[in-house]
Symmetry: C2
Subunit: 194 residues, 2 copies
């Protein structure tokens, strides 16, 4: 497959979509974000990169706490709204019914079936952003998205973001089982002599 150098501007295909909750200047504040990843299993750590001047970044710096809420495809409009406007321009929390957990400064979105509250453990300074590394303190889930006590993605119905098309997508068909589909290529595959 011949390839063309298309520069160094890149995207992640695709990106998860979360709503970050903070208390900024003493008030609950929410912002949609997509630059988020798991970092470590035990303790459970995640990384979230935000512009340094975001109202949300300010809240995390002020309180050392934040939350993540996973929106479903039913809440695309609310989610997109929370990413369109700056928290210092508009009281976005007015559109959000808040769910409070154990932390005082990690308001969560009640409509979102899975939410996490986090304590900041490290802030990495990047050229224009901050990477906030948070330890997950509690995960909350609605019974409606659980199967055998675990989050069932078919019930959760999350969506993803792609750029540069700026489109949200539902998940589609399953295309394989992880830690299983690749066994066909294992040297030590059953029935193989090699």
């Amino acid at each position: 497959m011949a390839k063309k150098n298309i520069g160094r501007s890149f995207n992640i295909f695709p990106m998860p979509v979360v709503i970050v909750g903070t208390v900024t200047d003493g008030k609950p504040n929410f912002m949609t974000a997509a630059w988020v990843t798991k970092l470590n299993t035990e303790p459970p750590l995640l990384g979230l990169s935000l512009g340094r001047r975001q109202h949300t970044a300010k809240g995390i710096e002020q309180t050392g706490e934040f939350s993540l809420s996973y929106p479903t495809i039913d809440d695309v409009v609310l989610t997109d709204y929370l990413g369109l406007v700056h928290g210092y321009e508009e009281d976005k929390a007015a559109h959000v019914e808040i769910f409070e957990g154990a932390l005082a400064h990690a308001p969560m979105v009640r409509r979102c079936p899975v939410t996490l509250e986090c304590r900041l453990v490290q802030k990495v300074e990047l050229p224009k952003d901050y990477l906030f590394i948070g330890e997950v303190v509690n995960v909350y889930a609605s019974e409606s998205v659980l199967t055998d006590g675990k989050v069932d993605v078919l019930k959760l119905r999350p969506f993803v973001l792609t750029m540069p098309s700026n489109t949200y997508w539902a998940l589609g068909e399953p295309v394989g089982e992880a830690w299983s589909a690749g066994r066909a290529l294992l040297k030590t595959a059953e029935g193989s002599d090699s």
Copy 2:
């Protein structure tokens, strides 16, 4: 929506899937990963978290370079295989036709229509993992996935991973336009008096 505390073990819903390429102990090596995110736009930085003892982590530490390749749904088996086996146990690169870019230690997967080569700029020590922060030096794409010179996700056909179901999923239907769908809730919406 009532919520239940389900502990502090968490997942990102869903995760992107990439194949990381390195030169480890002088040989090309590939590993599937899902703990990856964009971190900064200019310079273009990404973050990739890997177990400290991974053969891939060793390669990044040895050379300061690595690559990311985006597999399509046609290559689920190869992708899963590259995540099943350790590079110090099996020569996984034997299954990969390599594409070389400008860097000497960032082998890419030719079958993957979009690939990035990166230089390590920072390593963040986590309790059990390393977060590698890489600057993207070049992005390579096959003409077959470009529309007007940009990567078209409908042509790329990436897939995502969810846990704990351990399933790979294709993208489904578009459910909204980003930076647009939320305008309905803007205070300053056209035609609104509020």
